[in-house]
């Protein structure tokens, strides 16, 4: 049974639809990546799971089931129990994830409110967790203020904070976007390590295909508020079925041959919210009139690999 099952989830910001009937599942201990451009709805999906969407967002349909419990109908008290031990979050900017006024040890202690520990044992747990995420000298660092730590170290602390309540699922929204590339490599490695040692499932959101390829087991590609392709990471990268996925991979500079005079681009603009039919049709090199007229069907491209397109598989 899946740990997380999102089914037909639709979310709107006021009159504008941000998510359109999105379905996704994450198994226990699985690392699933969500990749898409800005405006594709990936952050909305990420925030929807722990129900951290802003108040102007409305869930207009669907369900989110975590470990057998429907999250959308929970009240605040029940939600508070789920957050932390059920699902924990790691945000993009470690600098703004913490209050600048308190040492990190104190802030992490606040995350363990559920377990009534003595100050000493709480401190011991935190020191152990800091060491676990690769922070050197944790006895000293636990009393440091956020501004005394580098971005990479703070993101490790953020991951430690997420792990404190032993969550089954960690949602990481662009966890390395704000970091240097050498630090990024370390944090990605750490996330995979966390899954291996703690068994937590991870939902990683990113706009960088490299990040997704580096650690994910399965990938969902989002465009215009829907998941246009989903599948095991190897199959999706080697045999992308949806034209948008194919175009994204074609644009990746790291995959291009040498001596390209110009970089490839995807022509056109992000979709208007009121489009019917396939949302990628205006920018798709293979689209025809029927693509714009009707909603594309869900098709299979292999084991566990599905995509939304009505034309023959590429």
């Amino acid at each position: 049974m899946s740990l997380l099952k999102v089914r037909d989830l639709s979310v709107s910001y006021g009159a504008q639809a941000a998510l359109n009937s999105v379905s996704l599942s994450v198994g226990h201990g699985e690392i699933v990546g969500i990749v898409g451009e800005s405006g594709s709805g990936k952050s909305t999906l990420a925030l929807a799971v722990p129900r951290l969407l802003p108040s102007i967002a409305r869930v207009t349909g669907g369900s989110i089931v975590l470990d057998g419990v429907e999250l959308l109908t929970l009240d605040e008290a029940a939600l508070a129990r789920v957050r932390g031990s059920g699902v924990a979050m790691v945000f993009q900017d470690p600098m703004t994830s913490f209050s600048p006024l308190l040492p990190i040890g104190r802030q992490l202690q606040a995350f363990m409110w559920r377990e009534r520990l003595t100050a000493r044992s709480a401190r011991g747990r935190i020191v152990d967790m800091l060491a676990d995420v690769g922070i050197a000298d944790p006895d000293r660092r636990i009393d440091a203020y956020p501004h005394e730590l580098s971005g990479g170290m703070l993101q490790r602390v953020a991951i430690a904070a997420a792990l404190l309540a032993r969550p089954a699922l960690i949602v990481a929204d662009e966890p390395t976007t704000a970091l240097d590339v050498t630090t990024e490599a370390q944090i990605l490695h750490l996330l995979r390590d966390i899954r291996d040692r703690h068994g937590a499932a991870i939902l990683v959101i990113s706009h960088q295909l490299g990040v997704i390829a580096e650690i994910c087991d399965r990938v969902a590609v989002m465009y215009g508020g829907t998941i246009v392709e989903q599948g095991p990471v190897g199959a999706l990268f080697r045999r992308p079925a949806h034209p948008y996925t194919q175009a994204l991979l074609a644009c990746e500079p790291a995959l291009l041959g040498d001596n390209m005079r110009r970089l490839p681009v995807i022509a056109g603009l992000p979709p208007r919210p009121d489009l019917s039919g396939c949302r990628f049709a205006d920018r798709c090199p293979h689209a025809d009139a029927s693509c714009r007229a009707s909603v594309p069907p869900l098709r299979s491209a292999g084991d566990g690999h599905a995509f939304l397109c009505q034309r023959a598989a590429a």
Binding site: E184, Q186, H189, A213, C216, L263
Partner: protein, 312 residues
Amino acid sequence: MTDPLTVEGLTVRVPGRRPGPAIVDDVSLSVRRGEVLGIVGESGSGKTTLARAIMGLIPAAAGRIAVGGVRLPDLSERSFRRLRREVALIFQSPAGSFNPRLRVDAILNEAVRGLGGRRDAAALLAMVGLDPGLLDRYPHALSGGQARRVAIARALAADPAVVIADEPTAGLDVSAQGEMMNLLMDLRDTSGTGIVCITHNLPVMRHCSDRVAVMYLGRLVEIGPTHAVATAPLHPYTQALLAAEPIPDPARRRTEPPVRGEVPSLFARPAGCEFHLRCPRTTEKCRVELPVLRDIGAGRAVRCHSPLGMAA
């Protein structure tokens, strides 16, 4: 053919009464006509500070700058005013570099007037493929892509010989990155403008730049033709940077992160070679003696006691 921009020994220090640590330390480089020079580095490398110091927006503690082969007499505001007619800067966040109360035509005309250019605002927009209808818009009414193009148009106000682009691809999706870099390369090809591209995006750099300079903690550690540096890096840090970039191919995952540790703080510079704490090839000499930037031929230079693939 003289290089349109040459910088020698440029040093910028943290402001304050006592001479603070150097943010940019003794950097020398030149931009050639019709080339794209990439400057890569991570946070703390000083690359943005370098760009602003070249433009005279931040005071430099030392250095000599020559524009079009003519050495500037000093680093006074007067000299920089001359430099700015030949060298233009595009900021990282284009929307942030516009006064939100001015319309596009006012923004462009202000640049033309200040720099003594001769094009009008509509012509500048046409040069970047934008419709003159945008002249009446305020910056907040422009899309991200349009704002970027307007920023480039403004930089072209006086037909500069060199354009410095600070992180032109930051925050952009892969397709938008391609559009942006193609624009800059078009500029290079049609007008022979030299482009300095400051970035931490290595894969883009590999494709778009002719030469690349790598900076670490304010110093140049390697410089050379892009293809050579990317396929056979000499400095261990360059190699680490190249290896660290996650590749969008699950078959090429790394089992170990390519480099440990983080960039040290400017205020706690390691002695000797600053990379020695993280370098897999550290020797005793590296711990005590700062290596000099050595020219090793074929347009390549490296600052290392034991460069990769070479005898020490």
